[in-house]
């Protein structure tokens, strides 16, 4: 019998009941909750007179709607200017109180983007099933966990039953072989993967990332990688557990305590695909050939090396594809064959659940240090992923580096990743962004988003246009 993939192991350990038709009732170990996708689920519980099955498996925080300017933030929930955003944050507070769910409220130091705080608190552990009403829940797969986004009906289902009916995906291995060159980060790797397999390439699959370049990544880098598995169409992305994973988890507030630690570690050390495991599909990427990546269009698969040019739809035979490219270029206000380094930007956003952890802050600060944001940049903002990331960065003096260079240093939240709060692009504005989606209107109606790594975003802020961070 062939060995098991990591995905098989995680799946098998959580089957409550196999329905015999490829679906199973799966047990959920951790449910993360935020204000946008939960109100209707709590409402559903109330209407049906149901209670959460296991209150302590839930952890909540508001992140999408919270203001990031210090003044508005410090005036508390009542001070949120947009009344509809305020209502959503208040509703989360009330629901958590009513149902007894732990919540890191808006001005709690532990508050932050849900996908940053789960791992930070050790609430995400190897071997767990982790769900959240948010597609970027795939992030948590970096720990050798099975983590995936769910809709609001499933949020309610998880609250009520601690289980979900799921269909088993097929298993894909994306092996990133060899060492990535200097300047190539986890973000560049994952953008290159999406560029290769396409935004639907992972549909129906759970992706395991492996290979030397992945083993070389830090845990935070692996989170960036798994975060964007969903942009490749895969509901879940994952990386096998190794010593780095275990070191990262150790001592965090929700991590296993002394009495269980050894037992947990022994269990976690089995969380990798067996050498004879069979994947349904295997994709190889040569890490040694990679360069920093920049998206040029309105889908994350529309991506090229910083040293390339904007592609030409005329060179594509497939008419659906070339029409899509034309629409994207029109929206982005770009001409085919323009060198990427000739594209000037108006705003720079460093943040989001993809790239707002301490290592991301450090990478951007290293580029910003002793330099100045270019005159054509209207706004360059750095938004840490959580209160604790912010605190750590300030202890290291990173906030000063940013402010001296002309960046704004903000309070933690999703911010301009999706512009549900006041942070957004104006029509036609072009942004170098470390977030994960360059969809039309994502960062504000008519806004034009180019996805890049934190170092590349900082470099664009300094140069005023895209540039290989190595050439700055």
């Amino acid at each position: 019998m062939a060995g098991k993939t990591l995905y098989d192991k995680l799946w098998d350990a959580h089957v409550v009941r196999d329905n015999g038709d490829g679906t199973a009732l799966l047990y959920i170990d951790r449910h993360l909750v935020h204000e946008v996708t939960s109100p209707q689920a709590f409402e559903g519980l109330r209407i049906a007179g149901r209670k959460p099955w296991r209150v302590d498996a839930n952890l909540a925080t508001p992140d999408h709607n919270v203001p990031t300017t210090t003044k508005e933030r410090h005036s508390g929930v009542e001070g949120i200017v947009d009344p509809i955003s305020r209502l959503q944050v208040e509703t989360l507070d009330q629901n958590c109180e009513e149902f007894g769910i732990t919540e890191f409220k808006m001005n709690d130091i532990r508050q932050g983007i849900v996908h940053v705080i789960g791992p930070e608190e050790g609430a995400t552990l190897p071997g767990m099933t982790v769900v959240c009403g948010d597609s970027h829940t795939s992030t948590h797969g970096a720990f050798g966990a099975l983590a995936f986004g769910i809709g609001t009906s499933e949020v309610e289902h998880t609250l009520a039953t601690q289980c979900l009916v799921q269909k088993k995906s097929r298993a894909m291995l994306v092996s990133v072989d060899g060492k990535a060159p200097e300047g190539v980060t986890a973000k560049d790797i994952v953008l290159a993967v999406i560029g290769k397999i396409g935004t639907a390439g992972g549909t129906g699959f759970a992706i395991e990332f492996g290979g030397e370049a992945i083993r070389d990544l830090s845990i935070e880098g692996r989170m960036t990688l798994c975060n964007m598995a969903i942009e490749a169409g895969a509901r879940a992305g994952m990386v096998a557990v190794d010593e780095k994973t275990i070191d990262y988890v150790k001592g965090r507030p929700y991590a296993p305590k002394e009495e269980y630690w050894e037992q947990a570690v022994a269990d976690w050390q089995t969380l990798h695909s067996d050498t004879d495991a069979q994947f349904d599909e295997v994709v190889h990427i040569d890490a040694t050939a990679l360069k920093p990546q920049v998206t040029w269009g309105t889908s994350p698969e529309m991506v090229v090396d910083v040293s390339s040019k904007v592609p030409d739809p005329a060179s594509i035979d497939d008419s659906v594809k070339s029409d899509g490219m034309k629409k994207a270029l029109a929206y982005m206000g770009l001409e085919a064959n323009t060198p990427i380094t000739d594209i000037t930007v108006d705003k720079v956003f460093i943040g989001s659940c993809t790239n707002s952890r301490i290592e991301d802050m450090r990478a951007a600060a290293t580029v910003a240090k002793g330099r100045k944001v270019a005159d054509n940049i209207k706004l360059a903002m750095v938004v840490p992923g959580s209160g604790l990331v912010k605190q750590q960065a300030e202890e290291e003096g990173l906030d000063k580096i940013f402010v001296e260079a002309g960046f704004e240093w903000r309070e933690p939240g999703c911010s301009m990743c999706l512009a549900m709060n006041a942070d957004r692009l104006e029509p036609g504005e072009r942004c170098a962004s470390t977030s994960n989606r360059n969809f039309e209107g994502r960062q504000g109606q008519g806004g034009r988003t180019h996805l890049v790594s934190p170092a590349m975003a900082a470099a664009a802020a300094i140069a005023g246009h895209f540039i290989d961070v190595q050439d700055l």
Partner: protein
């Protein structure tokens, strides 16, 4: 949830790949704490010429006459014909809520994003996957024929064209059963309380740090 019954509906074509959930329902409408009333803001940025915000009177807003759903021939459409990777992007269930509230019952595409696909079933919206060339042929027919409708029969898993030809489609049995009977998922799972408790007891032994 309403039971899904056989119906015949006008087909509207959405001729672009990778239609994402931000396009289906822009994020400002996600601030609602309700699950209904999203229909008027379906495809808001494509459908109207001005910028939409929650609470606006949508009946007075300037329409983009080029947008497909604003064309008279597609009024009352219940079937949306789409290209590959429809519904990619976020997990927001507001996307199927908006489509359903607008009046769609079925979406046909060569492929769907996973979470969107899953969410649709929870809301009585049936996503049907057909081969890309079959979808392509449908696009041509719909665009050439004003008033083009399809009959969708879930029980028999067929779509009937106006010329009488049938196309059959696949759907997993459990999902079909739930749609046809309009069943509540949570109620079904709670029939397995004993299994869940037994699992928890066993797991507590193996991995006590999880509890």
């Amino acid at each position: 949830m309403d039971k899904f019954t056989t119906f015949t509906g006008i087909v509207a074509p959405m001729d672009r790949p990778n239609v994402d959930t931000d396009a289906i329902i822009p994020k400002q409408f996600l601030k609602s704490i309700k699950r209904s009333g999203f229909g008027p803001n379906l495809f808001d940025e494509w459908r109207y010429l001005d910028h939409g915000e929650p609470g606006m009177d949508n009946s007075n807003r300037p329409l983009n006459s080029d947008f497909v759903l604003n064309q008279e021939r597609y009024t009352g459409a219940q079937v949306l014909l789409a290209r590959e990777n429809f519904g990619c992007g976020s997990s927001r269930e507001h996307a199927p809520w908006a489509l359903e509230d607008f009046g769609f019952k079925v979406i046909i595409a060569p492929s769907f994003a996973d979470i969107f696909f899953n969410n649709s079933f929870k809301n009585g919206l049936l996503p049907i996957i057909l081969d890309a060339d079959v979808v392509d042929a449908l696009f041509k027919e719909v665009e050439a024929t004003p008033g083009y409708s399809l009959k969708v029969d879930l029980e028999n898993q067929t779509i009937s064209k106006p010329n009488g030809n049938d196309i059959s489609f696949d759907i997993d049995e459990f999902r079909k059963y739930r749609l046809i009977n309009g069943l509540d998922d949570i109620g079904l799972t709670l029939q397995q309380v004993d299994d869940i408790k037994a699992y928890e007891a066993k797991r507590k032994q193996q991995a006590p740090w999880l509890f």
